[in-house]
């Protein structure tokens, strides 16, 4: 959690990297990246978190029916609410 320096606005606001596996989330903020945008990973989008890989691995999420893996450093910047 130490990397997540932004002040938490509320309790349930957190990054998708640390969010619990197997649950639905709504994105509250995502980095401005062309590829994330084209993949539909934008504010207010609902996503399903599958898992976080160990040892600094990526996060696996489902957007609609497609699975997208996002590296740790970006995943930590995608904030979600439960």
């Amino acid at each position: 959690m130490k990397k997540n320096k932004e002040k938490k606005i509320s309790q349930n606001l957190n990054s998708i990297y640390q969010a619990k596996d197997g649950k639905e989330y709504v994105i509250t903020s995502a980095p401005e990246l062309g590829l994330l945008r084209s993949l539909g990973i934008v504010k207010d989008k609902s996503i399903h978190k599958r898992m976080t890989y160990r040892l600094g691995g990526p996060v696996l999420i489902m957007v609609e029916s497609s699975e997208i893996a996002i590296g740790k450093d970006i995943a930590e910047q995608i904030l979600v609410r439960g």
Binding site: G56, V63, I70
Partner: protein, 598 residues
């Protein structure tokens, strides 16, 4: 220097007037449509001035023939990447029509792309593909309602099984014969829904609209995942994903190594030794008198002897089987899963999981791998990938030669060589990751569904690759064979060997004939090994040391050329010099240490 897999640029492609574009997301099955609509005469080219390549082929529809272009997959038309810029240039180049393939499992994003495309005043037919997968995921889509919403025909398809392809062609025919609606004064008086007129320029609006349309046309049902879907999911979890991945790698190696050996000993070697070579010996013997020329042509090291033996029996079976396996892994969706599973390790090496696919490609040939490293988002990562491939990844021709070299010794040698290659890879990547300035972007990849590749598109891909190999690699291979024959049969080799003796015999502990390997290795990588095969009585240590030199030796001429082209001459020279020094240093060290111990 022409290099293998380097593709030609076609500046006129934008000007062609009979173009039909095939567009859509990556992994949506475009190439399956492409191969089922075109014949065998397909060409891969590069867009002038860009690094993006595409495939084009002739396509017959009724009486007329069109040029079908498989535009590289894009997620959007935002011009945020080179691929997207190319896609935009194509849309603006007055194509006759566009086939836009939509991914039914990810409708919202795909409708957004569809809306982006509808902005260009080009007739579009939509193929709603992957419907079978969507159904298994519990998604039902009303295609006719979607057609109404988009104001363009939508054909439901399952391309891998060729479902809906004929209907798509019929619809395309209709669209192509329709008169363009000139004088469309506005939407109010228009009897048909014509959303092309109303598409907003604002990106947010189109996302919202895509969301609304999706909600209207899609219905949730009970899905039932197939075995492959479940396997695909399992392969993404560390357990059992990692054991499965290791199994796949071992199996792939088994097919390439075992299959290659079998093809070589059962079919190709007898063919070369008992038929082709005796045939040429007979012809040449009848024309050319015994002497130097005779020896250069058909002596022990003659052009017509090693030319056939090395190319047909040594290289070809492994190249062919490598692409058989690699293309299968690529089309079935296995490779992105490996990227996800091993991203954490790759990240520690200073790169990211997505680059694993590029490095694996380097086990085929370094040239497409270095070209493929363009997909890396930063220059630092490109440099690391290219350096790793040059330093530690043997190309398949070389691997084939190494396998043959070690065949007479313990299989442990091959395993040791593999470990050595991995160690050098990790060292190079980690060092460069720390030394080079700049960043490496984290991985963002979509994992496609696991599927059995469509036979026709798989064969087409395999054929394009083999054709490239045969056309592009033959020149340098023949060149090195001619050099080898001349050096050996004219006695020039003995003169050169005197100068290199201290390195070859002293430091590396190899017989002086190995000099030829060092010279030829500059031209092509497998040629750093092949001459060792001809030396009799090599000890296991000598074979291993020779193999190590070859494994780590400087990239071949084609790779040198592509490095200079893709980066600059400085990078090419630095990589060439440092691989050369590294190869001799490591191999010599192994030799010296082994002598100390033994």
């Amino acid at each position: 220097m022409a290099s293998c897999h380097e593709v030609k640029e076609d500046a006129k492609v934008y000007e062609k007037t009979d173009k039909i574009l095939l567009m859509g997301n990556p992994n949506v099955g475009k190439s399956v449509f492409f191969s089922s609509m075109t014949g065998i005469n397909v060409v891969s080219s590069n867009f002038a001035g860009t690094t993006v390549s595409y495939t084009e082929g002739k396509f017959k529809l009724g009486e007329k023939t069109y040029t079908l272009i498989d535009v590289p997959g894009t997620y959007s038309m935002d011009a945020t990447s080179e691929v997207e810029q190319v896609a935009i240039s194509f849309m603006k180049s007055n194509p006759l029509a566009v086939i836009c393939v939509l991914d039914a499992t990810n409708l919202e994003r795909n409708i957004k792309l569809g809306l982006d495309l509808l902005k260009y005043d080009v007739p579009i037919v939509f193929a709603l593909n992957l419907l079978d997968v969507a159904k298994r995921h519990g998604l039902e889509i009303n295609a006719s309602l979607l057609a109404q919403e988009l104001g363009a025909p939508v054909i439901p398809t399952v391309a891998v099984n060729n479902e809906g392809v004929e209907e798509l062609k019929e619809e395309l025919k209709k669209v192509l014969t329709q008169q363009p609606q000139i004088g469309c004064s506005g939407c109010s008086g228009c009897p048909v829904a014509c959303p092309a007129m109303k598409i907003s320029d604002d990106d947010e609006d189109n996302w919202d609209r895509a969301k609304t349309i999706t909600a209207r046309v899609r219905r949730k049902t009970e899905g039932k995942l197939s075995f492959l879907d479940k396997l695909g999911n399992s392969m993404l979890k560390p357990w059992p994903g990692i054991p499965i991945a290791i199994l796949i790698i071992i199996l792939s190696l088994g097919i390439i190594v075992g299959g290659g050996k079998a093809l070589r000993s059962v079919l190709l070697l007898p063919l070369v030794n008992n038929m082709i070579v005796p045939f040429f010996k007979m012809i040449i013997g009848a024309i050319v008198p015994e002497g130097i020329l005779y020896n250069v042509l058909i002596g022990e090291y003659g052009i017509f002897v090693i030319g056939f033996e090395w190319i047909i029996a040594l290289i070809l079976p492994y190249v062919f089987l490598f692409y058989v396996v690699f293309s299968f892994l690529e089309d079935s969706g296995v490779l992105p899963r490996l990227s996800v599973l091993f991203d954490n390790i790759m990240r520690k090496m200073g790169i990211q999981g997505g680059s694993m696919i590029t490095i694996l490609m380097g086990y085929g040939c370094a040239v497409p791998a270095i070209i493929g490293s363009r997909t890396a988002t930063t220059k630092k990562e490109r440099l690391i990938i290219s350096a790793v491939v040059c330093f530690a990844v043997p190309c398949i021709s070389q691997t084939g030669a190494l396998i043959s070299l070690f065949a007479g010794y313990s299989p442990i040698l091959l395993v040791l060589m593999l470990l050595l290659s991995l160690a050098v890879m990790i060292a190079v990547s980690s060092i460069l990751g720390r030394v080079l300035k700049g960043e490496v972007d984290p991985m963002v990849i979509e994992v496609p569904n696991l599927l059995l590749p469509n036979g026709k598109s798989y064969r087409q891909k395999l054929m394009i690759r083999m054709k490239h190999f045969l056309v592009e690699a033959e020149g340098p291979m023949l060149l090195s064979i001619v050099i080898a024959a001349l050096l050996k049969e004219t006695g020039l080799l003995d003169n050169i060997a005197v100068y290199l003796e201290p390195i070859v015999s002293g430091w590396l502990g190899l017989p002086k004939e190995a000099v030829i390997a060092l010279i030829l290795g500059v031209v092509r990588r497998e040629m750093a090994v092949a001459p060792l095969l001809a030396i009799e009585g090599l000890t296991a240590l000598q074979a291993f040391v020779g193999g190590t030199v070859a494994l780590l030796y400087l990239p071949c001429l084609s790779v040198f050329g592509i490095l200079a082209k893709e980066f600059n001459a400085k990078v090419a020279v630095i990589i060439a010099v440092s691989t050369f020094v590294n190869a001799l240093f490591v191999a010599g060290l192994i030799n010296q240490v082994a002598h100390l111990i033994m």
